[in-house]
Assembly symmetry: C2
Homo-oligomer: 113 residues x 2
């Protein structure tokens, strides 16, 4: 049974998710791309996003998204998978994430490759 490798990988309870953190997290284009790829193609390990940033930077973005309550992470072998908490988020802030990503489509947001 695969368990965490470092700190126990804390995910905030959905009730504790703060709007500030969600907006802050989604204000970054790279993180929006991550979210959109997760929507489009489901769970993925951290290393399969093909984004043009260093691994350590990517790790930082995942931490931010996780701390904001937007994604959930779980380890499997040597990979760490990412999954959206969209259903939970919609109970907390109904329609918010969809709205933001939809707005992103109307923006010059870089498409998720």
């Amino acid at each position: 049974m695969p368990l965490g490798r470092w700190a126990p990988l804390r995910h905030p309870d959905i009730a504790d998710v703060r709007l500030d953190d969600v907006l802050q997290a989604l204000a970054d284009p790279t993180r929006r791309r991550i979210v959109r790829m997760l929507i489009a193609e489901g769970d993925r390990p951290c290393g399969t996003f093909g984004l043009d940033v260093a691994a350590s930077t990517l790790s930082h973005h995942f931490r931010t998204l996780r701390a904001a309550g937007i994604i959930r992470q779980y380890d499997n072998g040597r990979q760490r998978f990412n999954t959206l908490r969209l259903a939970e988020l919609d109970t907390r802030f109904p329609g918010l994430v969809d709205q933001i990503l939809h707005a992103a489509a109307a923006d010059a947001d870089p498409a998720p490759r």
Copy 2:
């Protein structure tokens, strides 16, 4: 005929408004309070918001909201009035601002007095 006092008070064209800037601007609770007061009570001069920050800080927030394309400002006598660009924003990012402010109501967002 009241005109500007300092720089010509540049407002971005609605087509140039970027999602990043809107989200960044609305990620701050103080600025969200400003927006909500504008929705609730219409145009207001900068000095009538009763927020617990220094005047210079408030000025910075108004500049941020204006640069993000969220508010429009115009001078009248010695006061500078603020008005929402909600209709324009809804043509650019339909429903986004409403959605965020609605989410703010579900959050521990400080009520606009």
